[in-house]
């Protein structure tokens, strides 16, 4: 009566649950509530997903896949750190805000899942997301484009800077302002820039 409602139920569950888990967290949302939102029975949920944890994991994996595809295309960009980082960020900002926010959901809620689930997702997360940024940072250090700081730390610093754009809750919900993103990349690069073409005074540490 209300609608044909037959738009791939599997996907409709994923979409609705994504939104609800984002608002309420893993333990703050029940399978019953998801079922009501999707207008299937709770048993219907369990036909499509083994249990709550596997449903949640499917959400995280789907979000990571979206990001991965976007980042893959952007990775062809060659040149220095700046064009590469900017291209990566632009690609990330082109995926929907809600799928971006799934990465934040992952970092907040992963600890509440079983050890096996955590391990399996964390592996993919590093391979497909963090690793891509860290690789650019490592290359830039090798080229002397940025200071010889710990690449892992530098990556986390950079991610921390753009973190608000993965959320829409801490900051303004408008979201992906390209100018702001570019400025933040600029701040990062200016902050960590190496001795190559500027002053050598910042280089050494012991």
């Amino acid at each position: 009566m209300t609608a044909p409602a037959t738009g791939d139920i599997h996907q409709r569950i994923l979409d609705q649950a994504t939104q609800l888990f984002m608002e309420r967290g893993y333990h703050g949302l029940s399978m019953r509530e998801i079922a009501e939102a999707v207008q299937v029975s709770k048993a219907g949920l369990y036909y499509h997903f083994q249990d709550k944890e596997q449903l949640f994991l499917a959400i995280l994996n789907y979000g990571l896949d979206q990001l991965n595809q976007a980042m893959q295309a952007a990775e062809q960009t060659s040149g220095g750190v700046e064009p590469r980082l900017q291209a990566l960020l632009r690609a990330i900002m082109r995926v929907s805000a809600s799928q971006r926010a799934v990465m934040r959901l992952a970092s907040h809620e992963l600890a509440h899942l079983s050890a096996a689930t955590q391990a399996s997702f964390r592996q993919r997360y590093y391979d497909q997301f963090i690793g891509r940024i860290e690789r650019i940072v490592r290359d830039a250090i090798a080229q002397g484009e940025i200071k010889a700081i710990d690449p892992h730390l530098a990556t986390w610093v950079f991610l921390g800077m753009v973190y608000p754009f993965f959320s829409g809750s801490d900051m303004r919900d408008g979201g992906a302002d390209p100018a702001q993103i570019e400025m933040i990349v600029g701040i990062f690069l200016n902050g960590v820039k190496g001795s190559k073409k500027s002053t050598a005074s910042l280089q050494m540490e012991s």
Copy 2:
């Protein structure tokens, strides 16, 4: 039998619950489990705290108080952005890692509380924590020490950079490495430095 166990039960509940909420999140931890950990009855918990939300709020407020006291002392520091930011960060890093992590707990879980509780905490959070950093940033912009960017955005960028040091879960648990902290402040300041002149603000190593 087991222990005298009479070390201010109110505080023991706070301490134990802080640790457990940190591991499990607001909805991932039951009052029953807290009671068992503290070795009081569940009803005993309700003698000391009105309900689960008020217990959780007490934890957040206590953590904020610790930070507030430390930051108040550091706020006497005068001079440019750099000494002021460094003093503030050093003060923050002197409070225990677990109390620092309470701020992260707040940012993760606050959304799961009632609107009234959220509002009451967020007010204090801005007044006593974020506001202190934003004030320094605003002063620095007014003095031309750093670029004329949105102070709110700059504050969130800075907080994002030091975010890992509020956790102990995303990064190494060792926690507060002063050298890393100083370097990050240096990266931020170098990244946002203004047109005034690059005098002492570039020197981050001693």
